[in-house]
């Protein structure tokens, strides 16, 4: 996982609350065998509408999504996070996230930053009156900045630590690579290996 310290990118105002994972990515997009390429499914139903914010310049290339409360509710599909990341988002800002979504996001390096709803409203106004405004999200300071606007955000300490260090669960385990190697040295040599096979 790529370490996350600070990120600056175009802010995208999504004035909706209760954005559920079926909206983020409908079930028909879950069949593919890859973990990448889910961007075509992102907000598929809404994107059919030409006026949807992600269909408009300069928001198309945005990377900081500013959404209403209760973002990511519904099914536990990890694909919702994959779709947002694949589209290029690094941060979602909301005043409240569904737990499972927040957990999945943390695993995949997408920052779910929790701001007061009043700050979300101010950001929406700023991004709508000055489209293309860049938003800077600083994970060390736990602040969101855009032009003159500054606001704090919340994120749990464990997730913050893992994101700052760029550690996914696998990376965390690999910190113990020496212990694993040591364990492997002590395994009896007669234990089975899959290759090469002796003929039956």
């Amino acid at each position: 996982m790529e370490a996350f310290t600070t990120h600056t990118g175009i802010g995208v105002p999504l004035r909706r609350s209760n954005v559920d994972t079926d909206q983020i990515i409908p079930a028909v997009y879950l069949k593919r065998v890859s973990r990448t390429g889910f961007e075509d499914g992102l907000f598929a139903a809404w994107r059919a509408d030409e006026g949807f914010v992600l269909n408009l310049e300069p928001f198309r290339t945005g990377s900081v999504l500013v959404a209403g409360p209760d973002f990511g509710i519904g099914s536990s599909r990890e694909h919702a996070v994959w779709a947002l990341s694949d589209h290029g988002f690094r941060v979602v800002i909301s005043s409240r996230f569904a737990d499972i979504f927040r957990g999945n996001a943390g695993k995949q390096g997408l920052l779910a930053a929790e701001c007061d709803q009043s700050d979300v409203e101010l950001l929406w106004k700023l991004l709508e009156t000055h489209p293309g405004t860049e938003v800077t999200v600083d994970l060390r300071e736990k602040t969101v900045r855009a032009n003159d606007f500054t606001a704090p955000f919340a994120v749990d300490d464990y997730t913050r630590w893992r994101l700052l260090e760029g550690l996914d669960d696998i990376a965390l385990t690999l910190r113990h690579a020496e212990s694993i190697a040591e364990f492997e040295r002590d395994r009896p040599q007669w234990m089975p290996v899959t290759t090469p096979a002796r003929p039956a």
Partner: protein
């Protein structure tokens, strides 16, 4: 001091350490790093089995992170869930299935993982392939992105199913962060009567403890009836531990286990064999070890079991009748029974023996091994499959298929009017074209009778291979005694 998990440790410092169970011994032998506080233990994984359905995103995750498979030499893949059992030399017709299989092939080639593809002599259901190659051995930790990994516990291995993220974790690190399970002893004492099989034992166990009875536990099957079983029968029992809600099921290794393993392609040989057996003999639960819970069953009281409902706990002796939900005290169980009877289109009071089927499925990782085919063929010999019934015989692996053909079992099945197929999961889950049509009813030797499991709208009665064969002949749920 050796920590003993799952029990109160208050007294451990004051009194001598209690003996350990089989599961605890295998666990303790695999701890790479003991967790402290909320942190789980890091457990080493000896054998990782891979198939086409739950692995694609895991390999893709490795690719994205630029990580290799840490131990391709402890990893093996086979194609099973999607593969057709007819015309296997042709490309797979269903594009979604074909993509999954092709993806597995590409991933295995790229990451250096041994793969047994369709048409290969060693191809088959992942839980049949591991044991028959001798890769599944006592005392190992075995994982696979499939819940029926519990099958391998028959050898005294700690074997359990994992999700796709964990598949990636094991591919990358050969370990898993895990919290210990609790232990539940299933004591099956006495002797099974003739015609009563391992499948009847496990269906009776599940009917007794319920589909949630094993939640959070590793089950250890013990007692004289278990000791008397062959390895294949033990696999049938451990296979369905998951249907009792358990993560894993185990049986202590003994001479039966060693005899099964001796000479298999991946079993140790020569001096290694002696060293291995000496180690394996120490795995059995210590006499003074304590389980977190225990259950007792008398094998001599068991008769052939069948399920009447839509979960594996809804089972009864074949001599019984479809239960009346009105007479079930527990409200949740009553509602579940009502729903099940309506889905199964059954009336309370109907004799189970009077239930007519359209289809008989002999196969799956529960009952798709050579002994299962032999048992069914013995019943079928000299009989015909009833009019209007189709019987599908799907060996668990191509090696099982070859062994059956060497014994002429294929001829017995074909002469009886059954279909003789290539190896795979097939109608166990209907991901390939082998499916029930809406409203069709099957007697099936597989492990799950969930709504729609074998095809949308299909109805499933779980049975042993003996009952499956007798049912095929009579057209209604039957045991060989009815012939």
């Amino acid at each position: 001091m050796v920590p003993v998990y799952g029990k109160s440790s208050l007294w451990e410092d004051a009194v001598t350490v209690m003996g350990k169970t089989l599961a605890e011994k295998v666990w303790d032998a695999h701890v790479v790093r003991r967790g402290s506080g909320a942190e789980p233990d890091l457990l080493y994984i000896d054998l990782h089995l891979v198939h086409e359905v739950t692995s694609p995103q895991a390999f893709d995750g490795l690719r994205l992170a630029g990580r290799p498979v840490r131990r391709p030499d402890l990893t093996i893949a086979t194609e099973d869930h999607n593969v057709p059992t007819l015309d296997i030399e042709l490309p797979i017709a269903d594009p979604v299935s074909r993509t999954q299989v092709d993806t597995l092939r590409k991933n295995c080639a790229e990451f250096g993982v041994r793969l047994h593809p369709m048409g290969d002599a060693e191809q088959g259901i992942v839980h049949v392939v591991g044991p028959q190659l001798g890769l599944t051995q006592p005392g190992l930790t075995v994982v696979c992105g499939d819940s029926h990994t519990s099958t391998h516990g028959a050898f005294g291995a700690l074997a359990f199913g994992i999700g796709t993220s964990e598949v990636e974790h094991v591919l990358a690190t050969q370990t898993l962060p895990l919290r210990p399970f609790r232990t539940l002893a299933i004591n099956v004492d006495g002797q099974l009567r003739p015609g009563v099989t391992a499948k009847d034992v496990i269906l009776a166990v599940i009917a007794k403890i319920g589909t949630g009875g094993g939640q959070g536990y590793v089950l250890e099957y013990r007692g004289a009836a278990i000791r008397a079983l062959s390895m294949e029968a033990r696999m049938t029992i451990c296979n369905m531990s998951i249907e009792a809600g358990a993560r894993a099921g185990m049986i202590a290794p003994d001479d039966t286990t060693f005899a099964y393993l001796a000479g298999r392609p991946h079993a140790p040989a020569g001096a290694d064999w002696d060293a291995a057996v000496a180690r394996w003999r120490e795995l059995a639960t210590d006499p003074d070890a304590e389980f977190d819970a225990e259950v007792h069953l008398d094998a001599s009281e068991l008769t052939p079991y069948v399920t009447w409902g839509t979960n594996p706990g809804q089972g009864l002796p074949l001599s019984g009748e479809v239960p009346d939900p009105e007479r079930i005290g527990d409200e949740n169980a009553r509602i579940a029974a009502e729903k099940a009877l309506s889905y199964m289109d059954l009336t309370p009071g109907t004799r189970l023996r009077d239930i007519a089927v359209d289809t008989v499925f002999l196969g799956s990782c529960t009952n798709g091994r050579i002994e299962d085919l032999r048992a069914a063929a013995d019943v079928l010999r000299g009989h015909k499959v009833a009019d209007g019934v189709r019987m599908l015989v799907v060996p668990g692996s191509m090696r099982v298929r070859a062994a059956a053909e060497a014994e002429g079992l294929d001829k017995v099945f074909l002469a009886a009017g059954a279909e003789w197929r290539a190896a795979g999961c097939s109608m166990c889950l209907g991901m390939n074209p082998d499916q029930l049509k809406p409203g069709e009813r099957a007697a099936s030797t597989s492990n799950r009778n969930f709504e729609g499991r074998q095809g949308k709208g299909g109805r499933t009665h779980l049975v042993s291979p003996l009952v499956a064969a007798a049912t095929a002949v009579r057209g209604t749920l039957s045991s060989p005694d009815d012939l």
